[in-house]
């Protein structure tokens, strides 16, 4: 096979993207643990680690640009690199949302929760599963798995609606709940945004494999 060096560089790119995906997945796991346990130290750790995510995004972007400039990729190679650039943008945004959750934890972590968290943990389980599936779909070029993200995203949207309704009820019942309630709604929103970003990952994976443009976030 020709262009062994080029193929190695493409494989290396995919490995780096997976590395970034794993790092971001870890950030979600940590930020959600910090929220559940009201662990302020852990929340701060998530905030600090975001620098690693940002640095990896820049590194991978440069790898992509170098590949385009030096190798003149065509067809699937070109789609792989184009999708790669978009994937790292969504991963970086997911990382930012994990930080947003951590910052919110710092704000409300000093006081007891107004209600036990039920739907928010459900959302986090589904969202983490979605990211795990997206990374798997990326590695295996599994279009079906990428497409299945749409359904899970609908469930996250539904739970988000439920959180808003529940929290609003608590806020109406007692104005003292307003501050914490607002923050809980923000956290639910961040999780909902993470799920949306993961559907974007799915769309880019489908484009990479088949050149088809599909909307998974309807």
């Amino acid at each position: 096979m020709n262009r062994l060096n080029y193929q190695n560089t493409l494989d290396e790119l995919k490995r780096e993207i997976l590395k970034m995906g794993s790092l971001v997945k870890e950030q979600i796991e940590l930020t959600v643990s910090a929220l559940a346990a009201q662990d302020l130290e852990l929340a701060q750790k998530v905030i600090d680690r975001d620098d690693l995510v940002d640095a990896l995004e820049l590194k991978i972007e440069e790898q992509c640009l170098k590949l385009i400039a030096t190798q003149q990729p065509m067809a699937k190679d070109l789609r792989t690199i184009a999708a790669g650039i978009k994937i790292i943008i969504d991963l970086e945004r997911i990382g930012d949302n994990a930080v947003d959750i951590a910052k919110t934890t710092l704000r409300i972590g000093h006081e007891p929760l107004m209600k036990p968290l039920i739907d928010i943990p459900r959302m986090t389980v589904i969202t983490e599963d979605m990211l795990k599936d997206a990374l798997q779909a990326y590695v295996n070029e599994d279009v079906e798995l990428a497409e299945s993200l749409a359904e899970k995203d609908h469930e996250v949207d539904r739970l988000h609606g439920q959180v808003i309704r529940d929290v609003l009820t608590y806020m109406f019942e007692n104005p003292k709940n307003i501050t914490q309630g607002t923050h809980l709604m923000f956290i639910s929103r961040y999780l909902e945004r993470i799920a949306d970003h993961v559907t974007n990952l799915g769309e880019n994976i489908i484009y990479m494999v088949t050149a088809e443009r599909k909307d998974l976030n309807t």
């Binding site: 096979m1 020709n2 262009r3 003149q72 065509m74 067809a75 699937k76 070109l78 050149a211």
Partner: protein, 255 residues
């Protein structure tokens, strides 16, 4: 595909042999008028052979045998009624290495019209100037038309060869790797020239340069061992080819 344009060239079941060796295998292709069609493929795949069938340059090679049909403007190119000289006037050719005649710039361009019977000096002058302008060479050589063509740079010589072809008012331009012997800037200038010429002529270009094919052409055909593997809009060939062989070739996995 390009629905609104007429078919200029159509081949059906076109096969060609050099002695026992089959260089073209059952080619079906439909080339539209006033468009640039690129032919790509590894060395020896038959793309230049196919190009040469369009103006019967293969006739000059002994032991060539052709089967199937090749129509230009619905006329069979291989019919015994065809005037081959008239065909080669209608279907001009530019080659990889610029090949100006060892004479002046003026005489190079006037040569073709003279052969076809134009003797009037004013008319010849008019044709030479018009052709040099069309080939984007006029500004660089006006006032020096008596200079030897061999004193021009590579890029200029190639544009002179294009002017020479244009002087006999062809309808189809065949270009066999027209820029592979030129520097990058001359290459880009000729590509720009092709964009202007395509409004008037049907252009078929054989190229090894994938990026060039992607830049200049509307439709691309991929040849491999004498077969036309895939033929589609250039943007499809280079972003989502249907055949794995096409994908492997354009991504450089072989060839």
């Amino acid at each position: 595909m390009t629905e609104n344009k007429n078919t200029k060239v159509s081949a059906e079941n076109l096969s060609l042999w050099y002695g026992p060796f089959q260089a073209l295998k059952d080619i079906h292709i439909c080339i539209k008028e006033k468009e640039i069609t690129a032919l790509i493929g590894p060395s020896g795949c038959g793309k230049s052979t196919f190009l040469r069938t369009l103006n019967r340059m293969n006739d000059l090679i002994p032991s060539v045998k052709t089967e199937g049909s090749l129509l230009i403007d619905n006329q069979d190119v291989n019919s015994p009624d065809i005037d081959v000289v008239a065909l080669r006037k209608k279907v001009g050719m530019v080659f990889q290495s610029p090949n100006p005649f060892p004479m002046s710039i003026f005489d190079n361009v006037a040569y073709g019209p003279k052969i076809h019977g134009i003797r009037n000096k004013d008319e010849l002058s008019h044709i030479v100037i018009k052709s040099l302008k069309k080939a984007a060479l006029w500004d660089e050589v006006k006032g020096q038309l008596n200079k030897s063509a061999l004193s021009l740079s590579g890029g200029q010589q190639q544009r002179l060869c294009i002017a020479r072809v244009l002087a006999v008012e062809p309808e189809i331009l065949l270009m066999d790797e027209p820029t592979s012997a030129l520097d990058p800037i001359s290459t880009l200038r000729i590509e720009e020239l092709l964009q202007e010429l395509k409004n008037q002529f049907t252009i078929v270009i054989v190229t090894h340069n994938m990026q060039q094919a992607a830049r200049v052409s509307h439709v691309t055909g991929f040849f491999l061992t004498g077969e036309l593997i895939e033929y589609d809009l250039t943007e499809n060939i280079f972003t989502k080819p249907r055949n794995k062989k096409t994908e492997d070739y354009i991504t450089g996995r072989f060839g």
